[in-house]
């Protein structure tokens, strides 16, 4: 058994030295010999037919290598599940910001000058921006046909793709129990509606890509994508070549938060490289990111809940309508998950959830940290608070009565091995001093969330020990900043009983590493970790056998502790000496390949947050004084990176609650730079109190759970509920601006 030298240590990122010296390579840093730059002309209309495009003047500009429009390219549609995004608009444009033409030139400045010389004649079409409007009979229709897509995976839900509702791409029902019977048992039924506008992932690295085509036909690609092997396949389909012809090279990701899983401009970049016969690089500027990236879905919700005479929930019907914008293929699944959390972390025996994704003439939406969940949980937890108030119950007591506890069945019928909902909620309540006296215009609000550790997709890892005892782990997963390489390094160090400094984590291209799904969905400590663990077990066994050979005993009689292979009789050899000996015999390096194949997890992971706010009743300004964030945890492999996920997520939640709003007016994003689209700064952070609640084992090596998408979800509802507690103003949409609170305060006064 290995001694616990690495697991649980709060060590800094293993890739730290490269990151703090500016030597880490991101997509935008790639410079290829003979490289040209491409820029795109984007639509200024939300819905219009393209009548003609005149590129003659742009082509004539010195330094321009190619000017390309949609009809110059094959009719390729790209996407992650549905295939509905054209390389460049062909017959019509569907949102302000859609790419209409592209220029390849010697410099970005020349490319931009050429864009200004392109003349496009449009015929405007009626447009629709609001998802509710888009589903009404007679609404303008965005797409004439259902996009190509694989068969949705078999699940418990009922799936309809392109149902007979205008502009609806997918309609999914999740059901458990019998809601008719459940509502019949209710003493009271409450119905509320909520609205959550879009926010942007806000990564500081805009999307970038570069493509070079080698003389032998090999296509070299660099792109801001956290799933290189998945991207390779999507690119191969778009280029109509075998996967192996494409090499996705290893780059770091400058912030993901769910937004870096698509091809963005990369398929187009290949065709531009092909047209201009030179390597091409494309870097979006932040205005393009905000108007045409893949921000969070807008959510419209109706929640109807039945409660019995004691305050126990008997039934819920929830309808979630997600505005996916002009194209539906920025997400990797048939539906936006998240709406299936409409039961929250509560005991609801009878439930029906309907979730729709709706096309509108607005920026296409994508995935963002816990996709669909912050929108849904804002509705769930505000609805909970409103019911508590109407029942005359303390919001905490109402939750205590209904929260999932050990042995309870979750709303959609899941029977989790550990159910730590109540424990996590109580830990938050205690830390926040729930029920203790508050100052004037000070309020507290609570909200919860749970999601299981991710487990989908295959992960792989190769581990090798060289002739000097140095250990290398090769992974095909990019680093998105979560500290995954450090966690992998710690797992390897632990299993092979070496210091972390002796382990190098290498990121290989798709030609070097084995197939790997990549990080996302709070899965990598589990999936990547289990692949690394598997590789280590193989290497460890091989090393034990070598040591047995060296020490003259069976491998099974040896222990590996503190870097020494030892017999019970006290004979021992260090890893370095063993490998030196093995090398002399031609038996070094020692290596092993590890794999993790998807297997279902049997736990969910809870988070409970309590916000404390103070409201200025003259202006409506909300000050977040404190946020308590309580998390149900297993073994924490690295407390520093674990805490980093909690803090970063919580501040994203605060941003969505109080500051951020991607404003779409008449189909156009109007806050198109980071001066107008406000992200939280170092001045906007409250006192944060983290409470870790050790509750049991998770699926990751050493019984770890998951943390990546647990601290950003319930924050907006906790803050909105605190505002109600402070001054009695109920916010049913986000963000919680001073203007809305002020209007609520004045409305209360005039009602009095």
């Amino acid at each position: 058994m290995a001694s616990l030298v690495s697991i649980g240590q709060a060590v800094g990122h293993v890739e730290g030295p490269a990151k703090v010296t500016g030597h880490t390579l991101y997509s935008a840093d790639v410079i290829l010999p003979g490289m040209a730059w491409a820029k795109c002309l984007r639509s200024s209309f939300p819905h219009a037919r393209i009548k003609s495009i005149n590129t003659a003047a742009a082509r004539a500009l010195p330094g321009v290598h190619a000017v390309v429009t949609g009809t110059d390219l094959p009719d390729v549609r790209v996407g992650r599940f549905y295939l509905d995004i054209p390389l460049l608009a062909r017959d019509k444009v569907r949102f302000v910001g859609e790419k209409v033409a592209a220029v390849v030139a010697d410099t970005p400045e020349i490319a931009e000058a050429a864009l200004r010389l392109i003349e496009v004649e449009y015929e405007e079409l009626p447009a629709v921006f609001d998802a509710l409007e888009a589903t009404k009979p007679g609404a303008p229709i965005l797409h004439d046909s259902t996009p190509a897509h694989p068969k949705p995976p078999a699940g418990h839900e009922e799936v309809h793709i392109s149902p007979p509702i205008p502009n609806v791409l997918s309609q999914v029902f999740y059901r458990h129990g019998d809601i008719k019977a459940g509502f019949a048992q209710a003493a009271r039924i409450f119905e509320h509606t909520f609205y959550v506008p879009p926010v942007h992932q806000g990564y500081i690295e805009p999307h970038a890509c570069a493509v070079g085509i080698r003389p032998d036909g090999k296509i070299d690609v660099w792109l801001s994508n956290k799933m290189p092997f998945v991207a390779r396949h999507q690119l191969a389909v778009a280029f109509d070549v075998p996967d192996e012809r494409v090499r996705v090279n290893a780059v770091s990701i400058g912030g993901d938060f769910g937004g870096k899983g698509s091809l963005m401009d990369t398929a187009l970049c290949y065709y531009l490289a092909s047209h201009s016969r030179r390597p091409v690089k494309m870097v979006m500027n932040y205005t393009e990111e905000l108007m045409a990236g893949n921000p969070r879905h807008t959510g419209h919700f109706i929640f109807r809940t039945g409660v019995d005479a004691q305050g126990r929930i008997t039934a819920r019907y929830a309808r979630a309508l997600f505005n996916c914008g002009a194209y539906g293929s920025f997400i990797p699944a048939h539906t936006l998950h998240g709406a299936h959390h409409a039961g929250g972390s509560y005991r609801i025996p009878n439930i029906e959830i309907e979730s729709l994704r709706v096309y509108t003439n607005t920026v296409p939406r994508g995935h963002m940290r816990s996709p669909g969940a912050p929108q849904t949980i804002f509705a769930v937890e505000t609805h909970m608070d409103m019911m508590a108030v109407e029942l005359g119950m303390d919001p905490m007591d109402f939750r205590r009565l209904n929260v999932l506890d050990e042995g309870d069945v979750a709303p959609l019928g899941e029977r989790w091995r550990h159910v730590a909902g109540k424990e996590t909620l109580e830990a938050a309540a205690k830390a926040a001093g729930w029920g203790t006296p508050k100052g004037k215009h000070v309020g507290r609000g609570v909200a919860m969330y749970d999601r299981p550790p991710g487990a989908n997709g295959q992960s792989t890892a190769s581990v090798a020990v060289d002739a000097k005892g140095a250990v290398t782990l090769l992974t095909g997963a990019p680093d998105t900043g979560t500290g995954s390489y450090t966690v992998l390094g710690q797992l390897v160090a632990e299993e092979l009983s070496v210091p972390l400094s002796q382990v190098t984590v290498l990121h290989g291209s798709t030609d070097e590493a084995s197939w790997e799904q990549g990080p996302g969905g709070s899965r990598f400590t589990n999936t990547g970790g289990r692949a690394a663990y598997d590789a280590c077990q193989k290497v460890r066994q091989a090393l034990l056998e070598l040591a047995g050979e060296n020490l003259g005993c069976a491998a099974g009689q040896l222990s590996l502790k503190a870097g020494q292979f030892s017999t019970a009789a006290g004979k021992s050899i260090s890893l370095a000496s063993l490998m030196e000996w093995a090398a002399a015999k031609g038996k070094a390096p020692v290596s092993g390949a590890g794999v993790y194949n998807p297997s279902p997890v049997d736990v969910t992971v809870f988070a409970a947050q309590i916000a404390e706010v103070e409201v200025d009743v003259e202006t409506g300004q909300v000050t977040l004084r404190k946020l308590v964030t309580a998390h149900d945890v297993g073994t924490i492999i690295n407390p520093l990176t674990h805490q980093g996920q909690i803090e970063g997520g919580a501040v994203q939640g605060i941003g969505q609650a109080l500051i951020e709003h991607l404003v779409v007016r008449d189909g156009q994003v109007t806050n198109v730079h980071l001066g107008d689209y406000k992200l939280p700064t170092a001045m906007d952070i409250p006192q944060l109190q983290t409470v870790l609640v050790p509750t049991g084992s998770g699926p990751a090596p050493h019984q770890g759970k998951a943390i990546g998408e647990h601290s950003n979800v319930s924050t907006p509802a906790a803050i909105a509920n605190a505002v109600y507690d402070a001054v009695g103003v109920r916010l049913m949409d986000l963000p919680i601006t001073a203007e809305k609170v002020y209007a609520g305060l004045r409305a209360k006064e005039s009602n009095r």
Partner: protein
């Protein structure tokens, strides 16, 4: 076109640049110093922060020609060989970065702060660092990293 002769990370440079060449493009594409990052392109996010004669500037808003004769320090110029600047080591030890894209700008801004105010309070750090956006960390560990460097808590 204009000839400029700045000193960049202690090395004299001499280049012909177009009058409208931005300092960030000069550093990244003329000199190959890609450690300086472009985020917002409008001087809001701070990712492109470099020191111009010791003062922090947004290199995305600065014309290269204004750096003629100036002393420029970028993230590549902070370490002495393998020996990191205490701020760089603090950002590693205290979790002051995650994805790392904003980190060169954070560290250069923090360097300028500690150069002018070696022992800032937490509030002074927050106020100074307001112009450097980070989406990963929530800033808590950036502030701790700068405090740790200022208090001499890191070994390099």
């Amino acid at each position: 076109m204009k000839k400029i002769t700045p000193r960049v990370n202690g090395q004299a440079q001499s280049r012909e640049v177009p009058d409208n060449r931005l300092l960030i493009d000069f550093l990244r594409y003329d000199l190959g110093l890609t450690g300086t990052k472009e985020g917002c392109s409008v001087g809001v996010c701070g990712a492109c922060t470099v020191l111009l004669n010791g003062q922090p500037v947004s290199s995305c808003l600065t014309l290269a020609v204004t750096a003629d004769g100036a002393e420029i320090t970028t993230i590549e110029g902070l370490a002495r060989g393998d020996k990191l600047d205490p701020l760089q080591q603090a950002f590693i030890d205290y979790g002051g970065f995650q994805c790392g894209i904003c980190t060169p700008g954070q560290i250069m801004a923090a360097k300028a702060l500690l150069n002018s105010n070696p022992h800032p309070s937490k509030e002074e750090i927050q106020d100074w660092m307001m112009g450097n956006l980070c989406r990963c960390t929530g800033y808590y560990k950036i502030i701790e990293s700068i405090q740790a460097a200022a208090e001499g808590k890191v070994r390099v």
